[in-house]
């Protein structure tokens, strides 16, 4: 009985709460704000102190990225790209370089080009290309993001490429945990001498295929994602408030309650927009 009274006081307009659900009072909203901020602080602390308990969640096998890439090529009438282990290692080296030097770009601050990773591993190319992605939690989202970007899509669907290498690296970039995906595309320079075809940002060299190398490690984690946790909590809080506001709107109109306060419809619209953003916002960037 007491519980029911408390819930009524909290969620339904009544004499006990001055004809406005207690949860909608500015004092209660302030408590919710403080709770959300405190939650974020605890989330950061837990992640920093116990990274294996709460951390960045990503399950991105390089082989899956390659499979999805080739699926897009097949769907567009192109031949599949062969996975080249030298390119895999070169892509891994590029990812580690980005983490070590703290940059998120094709060219490093010290001028190191993506193509230098090809050549440093002995891969001599006629054509070369690079796609980068970070903070995606699964390979499908990353490949979809690339396909939705004209320049990245062009790389994936370029008929000049015959080989691919993918590196997936976890680490900290700009103080935040991240998973970087490096996609290297290339065609080896043929043994027969020919006029090299130079594209912007590329140079051509004699093709060398390296001897078989160990398979690069697969970056796989199985943590609870801070982003998904935040998204879930935000969805819950906003959903509850929207529900209470809807009940408030109906009850106030039915009982013809006159009170001082904001327009419930306006609050519904604003929180509705917040909910839409929560649902649409995704983790991940491409470059």
């Amino acid at each position: 009985m007491k519980l029911l009274k408390f819930l009524r006081h909290l969620f339904i307009p009544h004499a006990s709460n001055n004809q406005k659900a207690k949860i909608l009072h500015p004092s209660s909203l302030s408590v919710i704000v403080v709770f959300l901020i405190t939650f974020q602080v605890i989330l950061s602390f837990t992640h920093g102190t116990f990274p294996r308990v709460l951390g960045y969640a990503a399950s991105i096998p390089p082989s899956e990225v390659i499979r999805l890439t080739n699926a897009e090529r097949i769907a567009n009438g192109l031949s599949v790209l062969d996975e080249n282990r030298t390119l895999d290692l070169a892509a891994l080296a590029k990812g580690n370089d980005m983490l070590a030097k703290g940059y998120w770009a094709h060219f490093a601050p010290d001028g190191t080009s993506p193509w230098s990773f090809f050549t440093s591993f002995g891969y001599k190319y006629r054509y070369a290309g690079e796609n980068l992605a970070r903070d995606f939690s699964d390979p499908t989202s990353a490949v979809n993001a690339w396909m939705n970007s004209p320049s990245h899509r062009e790389n994936i669907l370029n008929s000049n490429y015959s080989e691919i290498g993918v590196g997936v690296i976890e680490g900290t970039l700009s103080g935040a945990d991240t998973t970087i995906i490096v996609q290297f595309f290339a065609s080896p320079l043929s043994a027969a001498p020919s006029v090299p075809i130079v594209k912007a940002g590329e140079t051509s060299m004699v093709a060398i295929v390296s001897s078989p190398l160990p398979t690069p490690g697969v970056a796989v984690s199985s943590f609870i994602s801070p982003f998904q946790t935040t998204k879930g909590l935000s969805f819950g809080v906003t959903g509850v408030l929207l529900l209470v506001l809807s009940v408030d709107l109906i009850v106030v109109r039915r009982r013809r309650i006159a009170r001082i306060g904001g327009r419930t419809l306006a609050h519904l619209a604003y929180l509705g927009m917040i909910l839409a953003v929560i649902l649409i916002l995704k983790a991940g960037q491409i470059i």
Binding site: T230, G261, L281
Partner: protein, 86 residues
């Protein structure tokens, strides 16, 4: 319903503000700082709308302004936390 119809121009302007905020947050997803600015501006515009709306209706009170500010801060905190974590 009658009141809503009478206030339709007010609510249309509010929906315009929220639509612009939503579009800004989605379109500029590549720039976190700008996203936060858009979220902050939308919250500010929402509070401003509330003040103007209630002033026109001659029922503007301190409690009303505080209520809009509280809702705006709550929405902003939610958006900021998502942007930071993304």
């Amino acid at each position: 319903m009658k009141k809503f119809t009478k206030d339709l121009p007010h609510y249309l302007s509010l929906f315009g503000i929220l639509l612009a905020g939503f579009a800004g947050l989605i379109l500029f997803s590549y720039d976190k700082n700008f996203q936060m600015s858009v979220a902050f501006a939308t919250a500010g515009a929402y509070v401003a709308w509330g003040i103007v709306h209630h002033a026109i209706h001659k029922d503007l009170y301190l409690e009303t302004i505080i209520e809009y500010i509280a809702i705006a801060i709550l929405g902003s905190v939610i958006i900021f936390s998502l942007i930071i974590r993304s």
